[in-house]
Symmetry: C5
Subunit: 380 residues, 5 copies
């Protein structure tokens, strides 16, 4: 996937990062809706091997009612936006969720993790998106995995999960509808990681373009670009490492909520998570090595500038001195007595004095050029 990046124009790569906003010493397990959060919208997907029903609503009670129509199916309740207190309270009560869990869902600066709580699993992924304008969005995607229900929470209605919905609708491969909610959580997590590849590859292309430009001409703008990529890599690494640990937990888990048949898929996702860490690390090394290249090139350029200055100065400063000598006004005749002062610059009165001086200067120029050539100051 090749992006044409407008190298010139955008200096800074910006990152929208969640920060811990809660007051220190707050009651643990209390969760308050952030006022700027998007109101919750819900989509319900109730499916079995040969059937799928979708339902969109803003009312959690209707969503539950809809799911209750299909007691034998698998359900995926996709909550977009964390801004409606009733929705979260209702889910907490209905499914008996620990309040520390609800707090982590709402405070969207958590690291990826996987916690087991008797009748449900609580899982966090970080969903990273890179807009065309190089704006990185680092969003939290939380899951509650029950026996035949998966609830997912995202911060807004802009996500990278559309391919999963499409596959669910098209039923391309029987597994998704057959293997229950633990396959669904795998599919969602794997899609999130797959998206990391897209971003890292795009940044890799960016680095290659930057490298090409660097070899042509090292510019400050390029350094800004490399710094920007490095900064993104620090962010992505912070997401990718715990992601790997989390999936490894899944692999080793004996929790019955994770169906045995899905283990082979989690192994695949684990491979992907290792690959992405691998890629990020070598991208960071490449970025560092490009910065070194930039500095070397700058130092080269400075050297070249200084050589230019030195060669010009070394040639002309002595010549200027010589012509200065013959610009002196030492008198050849005493102004008062009129006596001839024949020691005062007799060269000036030699018939070919001028030509001789020109000759001497030419010799100096040639000698200096010869010296600099021999020292290897010309050329590369």
């Amino acid at each position: 996937m090749k992006f044409t990046l407008p190298i010139i124009g955008t200096h800074r790569i910006s990152i929208t990062q969640p920060k811990r906003k809660s007051e220190p010493g707050k009651v643990p397990g209390s969760f308050e809706i952030n006022e700027t959060a998007m109101p919750s919208k819900m989509s319900v997907y109730s499916y079995e091997a040969l059937a799928l029903d979708e339902f969109k609503t803003n009312d959690i009670k209707e969503a539950i009612k809809f799911m209750d129509q299909f007691p034998d199916r698998t359900h995926w309740l996709d909550v977009q936006g964390l801004g409606t207190q009733e929705v979260l309270d209702f889910i907490k009560e209905k499914y008996n969720i620990n309040s520390l869990v609800m707090e982590d869902i709402v405070n969207t600066y958590q690291r990826p993790k996987n916690e087991e709580y008797g009748h449900y699993l609580f899982v966090i992924s970080r969903m990273i998106e890179l807009s065309k304008g190089l704006q990185l969005k680092n969003e939290q995607l939380s899951f509650l995995l029950f026996d035949n229900l998966l609830i997912s929470f995202q911060e807004d209605d802009d996500d990278v999960l559309e391919p999963v919905r499409t596959r669910l609708r098209k039923n391309v491969n029987g597994n998704m509808r057959k293997l229950g909610p633990s396959y669904m959580i795998y599919a969602l997590m794997d899609t999130v990681i797959d998206h990391y590849f897209t971003i890292v590859n795009r940044l890799g292309d960016e680095l290659e373009i930057v490298e090409d430009h660097l070899y042509q001409k090292p510019r400050k703008l390029l350094m800004y670009r490399i710094q920007g990529v490095k900064k993104l890599m620090i962010t992505m690494r912070r997401a990718a490492w715990p992601e790997r640990d989390k999936i490894n937990d899944f692999l080793r888990s004996t929790n019955p909520l994770i169906h045995q048949e899905t283990k082979v898929f989690f192994r695949d996702a684990y491979d992907h998570s290792i690959q992405i860490i691998d890629l990020i690390e070598s991208m960071r090394e490449t970025a560092t090595s490009l910065l070194d290249l930039y500095l070397s090139l700058m130092s080269n350029k400075m050297n070249e500038v200084m050589k230019t200055l030195t060669i010009i100065s070394a040639i002309f400063i002595p010549l200027t001195f010589i012509v200065g000598v013959y610009g002196m006004n030492f008198a050849n005749q005493d102004p008062v007595t009129g006596a001839i002062l024949e020691n005062n610059m007799p060269e000036l009165y030699h018939p070919n004095g001028y030509l001789y001086v020109l000759g001497v200067m030419l010799f100096i120029v040639v000698a200096q050029i010869w010296y600099f050539v021999r020292r290897g100051w010309f050329g590369d």
Copy 2:
């Protein structure tokens, strides 16, 4: 939380760090009050699910007497200031504390740790505060955890624990009063770690401001700032790593002093301690990468300065030479014989000599500018 930092004005970030002051070879287990330490003040909090009594005193015996009134309650004895020998001696005797422990409480340069001693646990946290004037205070907070009593020791009466006291008084969430002293120690430790987030976020904002200023103009002051943040990060990391290990010890501990119900909260605190280490590490990387940026920008600036010098010199030095040539006084007539010396600078007597020389100089200027433009010395 966005701070408006007075970037200009404060050069140095200062750290008040405890240092090992004891003489080498001192008797282990002996503890002597540091003369500069604050005299001890005590607050007693005796509570049960529906009741809370507070009592403030400077006399340890009165404090004990107060607690003895409520034999069935949980007590928190909050000792502020380590300057009164009697208080410490009395606690040592009354609760049968190992003298090595008392020594560690008084010598306030210990790393966070967690030691089990039969009937009590000894725990150390480091409480880090950052004043508005960027003064970092690194204080020791020691705990003795008994069956229904928690004793905490701090160096002075300035701390970050007020939110816990408020929650205890308001009884916002039933847990705090119900779950005994091991919940109280969790609440205090977690509040301390929460405060780390506040500091790190503030320093993160600082780095962002510095970065913005760097892109505008790299100044020495900004470098001082980055160095200051780096220094703070080294200090905080030294506190945060053992903090994590300590909480992990709590999690794995089978000591009955740590109630089973509080384990889930310690897991939460453990998550926080990992998050903070994570944040500190990426902040350090960011600081290092900003320093690199500063150096690159300095080197860029130098390059620009040198290019300016070189362009001006390269253009004017040759011209100055040329005008110097025609300032030479070679005579066109022998002063004695009056003979015409027609080889001496005949150009000077050409009707348009001056114009021709001006033309030559103009050509040289144009040629040089063309050369520098082609070499890409102008522009970025």
Copy 3:
């Protein structure tokens, strides 16, 4: 093996790296032929201790039919090119291969790994080739190991495995034909690793040549070369580390598909994989240390340039000033009144003024040279 490398001429070392091209969220286990992939060609090698039959075809069914003629022999089915869907589908059905495995075979950006699936093993190696023009090709080599059959898949018909085919044909050492497909997979994997040595040694020679040139004259081109080698090392390390882990898995495996007799050979291959990692790491260190050398030399050179400029300027600028002084036109006679102005530059009318000035200038030159010599500015 000494290569004569055309140091001058090729600036950039290029790497043909496979990238994850699949769409995020794609159905796991689905595999689609990449349209640019080479159509599949197959070679079958059916052998036993004293016999070998080879067969080349483009039709997978014929290949199977050929192998069925020799039910007691060991077979190696060598598939070159992944562009024919029927071949892959047929193999998947015939040998009952997991579709995640087929996907990994087709998506040729996998890390080396070793996965056990009941009746077969799935193994991935990365085959790295370095063309004469310093083009690095990083190809995937996948294996399916059955009881008496080994299927290998490569991306095209250009490989490093010819020596194995030769040994199989010549039957140099009895082992290859006797020890079944697990020896064959060892032989292929070991040949791939052996080829890493060739590449690393070649790059080592490159670094030595670069070092020789650096000591003579540090040029930008040499820095490009070192950067190029560093980049290759990052790529090779990404292949070599998981390679080692994979072979270690073989060593520890108790899977009956890996014959006990071949374990000693895998130990040998394991040694090789450790050696190559070792070599790559010290090559990277050497490359880094050459870059440092380059920077030190550049800084030395700059110093030398600046010293030249400073010496010339320091000598001639004061002299030019002096001759300028005596080029001033202060009048010795008032133009209007004709009065003698004897304070105005009487030196100009001294009989030996000119000689005295020349003497003063000579003294200045000598003094300055003496000063610079004493400061150690001449010489090294």
Copy 4:
């Protein structure tokens, strides 16, 4: 402890480091007295809870005889100086010491370690002292720990152990006399580590002073200082890491020579050893970061120097060219024909030519200053 360090004057921090001096291939277990070693002096301390007898001698037999008077007491035989062969031979025979152990005692370049040999333990500590003149002395302190006897060997009679002797004499805390030789070895080892803190704190103060001076004026001398501290840190780290491992061995040991009651004290010493490693590591980071600061400041200073040069050159070089132009001698009259050459520098004959030229030059100066101010070359 605040030292007033004479920053100016001492350039180099020197380290007296032991080096392996033995010939390669020497018989293992043979030990030869180094001829430059100090002759052995011995002090015997025989003590029990309420009694202490001291005895100083140069004769090992007398020392043994002295100890034999008190068969029920604990003995500490403190050997200072390793230069007397008889003493070492006698101890080897009398206490049946392995000759490899004797070799390690004499060859004083060993790492800290702890080896168990049936009836005795062999322990090595490194005793580091820093003289006022910043001379670091890295001495070996070896112990043989028996059931009721501790023999210690030091290289000379200058040590840091005096506080232990004082405590033994004053019997400040009952433990020392009661807990036998394993407490004594703890007390000595802990005193050695305590002294590390003194050194590291002193070097920390040094770094702070250096930092203060750096902010005022970056001088070469300060860089030497930082390098010196870094070098000391490398040395101390080499001693501190194995020290920690050694004490950990003590903690885990089940050897009856280490009394169970002393375990809690070894835990304390272990804490100290971790703290000191921690301190050394952050000191090294601080030193590295000060070096970076020095380099940044140097680069800043260079920038400032270059800006000064460039501003002066940029202003005056063009002006000098202009005045050079009007110093040219183009004739306004043909010397032979006397014709007026009116194209030759008519400006010179304009009534206000001089004033106009001065005006032009003033304009150029103002324009340039305006340009440099706008580029931000003045100020910081």
Copy 5:
């Protein structure tokens, strides 16, 4: 051991490193004599507690026959040179050696390792020698350890093992002749490691000399030296790390070929291998820190050069401008009309114009010097 190193004269430290020369894909276990290898010479040492017989030959059969005379003795067969195929083939057949082992003996680029093969152990050490001319030779020393026979293979007849032969002949310490071939292999391995100390100490002395010279005058040659030492350190580290692991294997091995009595000696050798790694690591750190020092000093020197240039330019360029002004030829009389042009440089006709101008220039010089002194440009 203090070497007087001829600092001036030798620029490059060279390393004779073995490289993998075999063709990739070669038959494993096949071994071909390298044509450039030295023909094999053999020395046989047959010994028991009180007797030793030596025998030198070029014929392996005679060597065997010689050993057969003393069936109850321990034998050491020392093979120098790997160039005679018959010798190797004969040993392979006679002692039933695995062909992979023979291959490793001949291909002398192996890492140190220790492999157990039923009736014998196969051990590889790397013997590193440093010639006076700073030529590092990295040779392979292979061992086959049998019940009462040790066979050693070296690449040529130049080794560091002479001290062992001397001890065997002189029977200094009874152990060597009594403890069988596992003591002999220990003695040889330990002597090899002991030689590492000699080399590292020598390089340490080198670094100290370089440091002394650096403080006097930073020269390019010194940087070459540091780079050379760093390169040697990379090589030695690659040998030392696996050496440590190998000896650790010996320590843990329960193989009866390693006599229990020799275990304590292997523990000693293990200590040595850890010490040498320790030394190498701190030497590398020291070398890196010297390179940093070199760069800082270079940057200091550059600063000084630039300051000199700037001071001289800043003083004389303005003065040259001023004298240029009064060298202009503005006319005081119209050449045609003869009118007095009194605005044209009236200063030139002032009776003390010249003195005033000299005064102004003196003032400028003083002002500038005062400015530079205040800015701290003079002195350090």
